[in-house]
């Protein structure tokens, strides 16, 4: 047998072997991980897979890079037959792939897409080398650039190979109009002698083959592993509602995650799929405010640590002696996941706003691992004093303000008619008020306004009064699982003692807990099976049904800030906007609206934590974003923590004369006044 086909075969098998070995090693590391819940919901999975993998839907959130990647992805898929063709014809000269190798329309698509990929790659190189966007900071630049050159090379070499085949009348595709680009490339080389063309073709072939196989062996080692894993990762992803955290992992005495192998295999598959694109980093409010957290670097750090620790666990720690220093494996095994690999500061910086998870095209989960590590940190007393104080208050008094339960409903004192006590008499709607709306002295007026609007809308509502406790949504996100359970138990007991048909709340965090956290696995888990509404949904319903007559149209130009736990987590975007329109306000959207809304910085327990490391508050950043909308005079919110944060931010950002910060209920009450 001639040498060259043997060489192709040898090179191919070697590359395949090396690729396989590297994949195997990473699979071995993944097997150290914990089991994940069983996979189900097949139809939904297949549909999401089609939309998000083949449709590349999330990629387009960054428009131009999205288009470029769309072509690279489809180029890769559609050109796979050409790679198979190249390898096979190398081993068996003259071999032609049946059907796929001769089908004209496919060849046309391949020709065109090769050009599209080349253009996309040039654009990507321009981004990497000239524009250098912030989101790439910390990503492996060399690998990125090298691979882009690889892809470009693969495209060019393919077109050269096809072009020369066309020129020499050797192409399995007929007629020629099916390969216009290849024909064009071939025509550029028409001037060369046949032997020169053969030489060029051979060089192109070996360049093509080598780069493809080199790329193959490189895949498992870096961010391009996503080429293999992304399909699986998106298909197998967690389909639980985002607003529901998984239960705290327990390893004997230890709560939360201390070592990287205590994460599930699904989390590890997430990390292998990270492309280091930095879209998560770009939307992270903690990162923007100058804190240590970058969701991208978090995932990259976890991935790298899994590899080194997996390797070290296999190698086994060597015993250090006076003569031989401790081996590298021992050093790695002594590394602490929390503290050495991911810093405490980075873990506490997260507001759990979900922007990262929402943005990631690979559906990588960033918030869940952070919470799992926080769960461990708290057991080690590694939390700042202000958070500890808030947790102690929550444990003792059921609210973070450190005030007696008896003062929870003090805001109702002067209400006429008095607000129903739903513990004593049934009501149609139970209003779960929430801590901030109840205890914060600056928010009392808004809470009272809400009550008045409910009354005007004819809502038959009642409160739990002193029996209400913080729902524990953010408590859970600080990692204090036991306290969350304690609060949830107390709240559920109170709820079960009352008669009502639905629950409304003014606080999106409360909304999320009642809707998602208080039930498990489709069971009620002690939670009454009633609809949960945010007050904007209730108002929307009341206005649409005519129950709440709007007296006048306000005529304001406003912008609306989507709260994280109402928007991203629970998909409620339209109800508040409809309400604003119904009361005659023109809504002008901020650039970052709906699921791109920038978190105010209070969530995830951050409102209970020390802020001294923050360089620029996300809330000020957001106010400035709103101020750039020249006609807008009102910044409308629908969450008491947003109201607190933005009322403050509008002053510290010096925009008080420019923007009025209002809760939606304040505008609705204004509109109820008869002209």
């Amino acid at each position: 047998m001639p040498i060259e086909p043997l060489l192709v075969l040898a090179v191919f098998l070697a590359a395949l072997g090396l690729f396989g070995f590297r994949v195997y090693r990473r699979l071995e590391h993944m097997r150290l991980g914990q089991p994940a819940e069983s996979i189900g919901q097949w139809r939904q999975r297949i549909w999401l897979w089609l939309v998000y993998v083949f449709g590349q839907r999330r990629l387009f959130r960054f428009a131009r890079p999205g288009v470029a990647h769309f072509f690279v992805f489809w180029g890769f898929l559609l050109l796979l037959p050409t790679i198979a063709q190249a390898i096979l014809e190398g081993v068996w000269p003259g071999f032609v792939l049946p059907f796929l190798g001769t089908f004209g329309p496919l060849a046309l698509v391949q020709d065109l897409i090769a050009v599209a990929v080349a253009i996309a790659v040039v654009y990507d190189l321009y981004m990497r080398l000239i524009v250098k966007p912030e989101r790439y900071k910390g990503s492996h630049k060399t690998e990125g650039v090298v691979v882009l050159f690889f892809i470009l090379t693969i495209m060019i070499s393919l077109l050269v190979m096809n072009g020369i085949k066309r020129e020499q009348g050797d192409s399995p595709i007929e007629p020629a109009y099916w390969q216009p680009v290849s024909a064009f490339v071939g025509s550029l080389l028409a001037g060369l002698s046949t032997s020169a063309q053969d030489m060029v073709a051979r060089v192109a072939y070996w360049v093509h083959l080598s780069v493809v196989l080199l790329f193959l062996t490189m895949l498992p080692g870096g961010k391009h592993f996503h080429v293999v894993t992304s399909m699986f990762n998106v298909f197998l992803r967690d389909l639980e509602p985002p607003g529901k955290l998984p239960p705290a992992p327990q390893f004997g005495d230890q709560t939360g995650v201390k070592n990287v192998e205590q994460f599930s295999w699904r989390a590890m598959l997430n990390w292998y799929s990270c492309t280091e694109c930095g879209r998560c980093q770009d939307v992270c409010p903690a990162y923007a405010s100058g804190l240590e957290l970058s969701p991208k670097l978090l995932i990259m750090g976890l991935r790298a640590h899994l590899y080194e620790r997996g390797t070290a666990l296999k190698a086994g720690p060597a015993k250090a002696s006076a003569d031989a220093p401790a081996s590298a494996a021992t050093a790695v095994l002594e590394k602490e996941l929390t503290g050495d690999v991911i810093s405490d500061a980075a873990l506490w910086a997260c507001t759990t706003c979900y922007a990262c998870d929402q943005e990631c095209p690979l559906f990588i989960e960033h918030v869940d691992p952070i919470v799992d590590m926080r769960r461990y940190l708290l057991t080690q007393q590694r939390a700042d004093a202000t958070l500890v104080d808030a947790l102690m208050n929550l444990r003792r008094y059921g609210n973070s303000f450190g005030q007696s339960e008896r003062r929870r409903a003090m805001w109702t004192a002067d209400m006429a008619p008095p607000v129903k006590d739903i513990r004593r008499e049934p009501a149609h709607t139970l209003w779960f008020v929430g801590d901030y709306a109840s205890y914060s002295p600056t928010l009392t007026a808004v809470t009272q306004a809400t009550a008045r609007v409910f009354q005007k809308a004819g809502v038959d509502f009642g409160l739990l009064y002193e029996a209400e406790r913080n729902t524990g949504n953010d408590v859970r996100r600080t990692g204090e699982e036991g306290l969350f359970e304690l609060l949830a138990t107390k709240n559920k007991m109170a709820l079960n003692g009352c008669e009502f048909q639905e629950i409304v709340t003014t606080d999106p965090h409360t909304y999320n807990a009642l809707k998602n956290e208080y039930r498990s696995d489709g069971d009620s888990d002690g939670m009454p099976a009633v609809p949960i509404l945010h007050y904007t949904e209730l108002l929307d319903r009341a206005i649409t049904s005519g129950q709440l007559p709007i007296g006048r149209q306000l005529g304001y130009t406003v912008t609306y800030h989507d709260p994280c736990y109402l928007g991203r987590y629970n998909g409620v975007y339209d109800a508040p906007r409809r309400v604003l329109e119904a009361i005659g306000c023109r809504v002008v959207e901020m650039p970052r609206n709906r699921d791109r809304s920038l978190c105010c910085g209070a969530g995830g327990g951050r409102i209970w934590m020390d802020e001294s490391a923050v360089q620029e508050r996300p809330s000020e950043n957001r106010i400035r974003e709103a101020a750039e909308l020249s006609d807008v005079g009102y910044f409308v919110v629908a969450c008491p923590k947003d109201l607190t944060m933005y009322r403050d931010a509008v002053k510290t950002a010096g925009q008080e004369d420019r923007l009025a910060v209002k809760d939606l209920i304040e505008l609705v009450e204004e509109a109820l006044e008869q002209t």
Partner: protein, 256 residues
Amino acid sequence: MDILVPIKLVPDLVEELEIAANGVALDRRFMRLIPSEQDDHALEEALLLKERHGGSVTVITLDTGDTDDTLYTAIAKGADRAIKVTGESFDEGVTNHAASSVLQAAAKDLTFDLILTGAQATDDLDGSTGPLLAARLGLPFVGYVLAVSQEDGGIVVRKEYPGGLVAEMTVDLPAVLGISAAEKPPRYVVTAKVMEAMKTATIEEVAAGDADAQGAAELARMYLPESGERAEMIEGGVDQVADALVALFGKRGLLG
């Protein structure tokens, strides 16, 4: 070192306090009781010493009500034993003299090198439990202690004086110390650990013997101070208030 930590449950000042019908005591019916803040610090200091030098920590309280949560929390934090002393009249409130007498009797069955308790409690009216207990047991006492360290078979304490001055004293063991602040703020123990302690740990119960209740003065009256002479309130929003204050400062020649 084996350390005993008596903890006193005191009224939570977050709540409104009311006077009982007899006019000489607080109405304890709806009162929330919490561990005295400095006793929490004493427990923290004891746990720190245990972590550094080994030994054991035993917490002991009189059953004046609401004690279980405090005791289980102490165990969850790392205490080895929790003892509750029960007595008929305890839930009406106990003077420090009586409490120290009860503790003295209970301490007879315990071995310890050191007793750590808070330097004072918010509802003290007849001295503090620590020095009273020390005197009854015939042990040396130093109060207002900020730090304890073990040195040459004995201990050295740091005692605070006004103006931030600190004195270092050596104390012979066994001894009683009144802690005003531990070297670190009292640790936070996650709720799950407290719940676990509630399930797995046992609180030992001991009956109080006869207490020597003498030593506290009899009260003629207990009352809430009249809000008569109160501050003149400056009304208005932030801006009006700021203006009013600046005017006030100016009038007093403070802006010169």
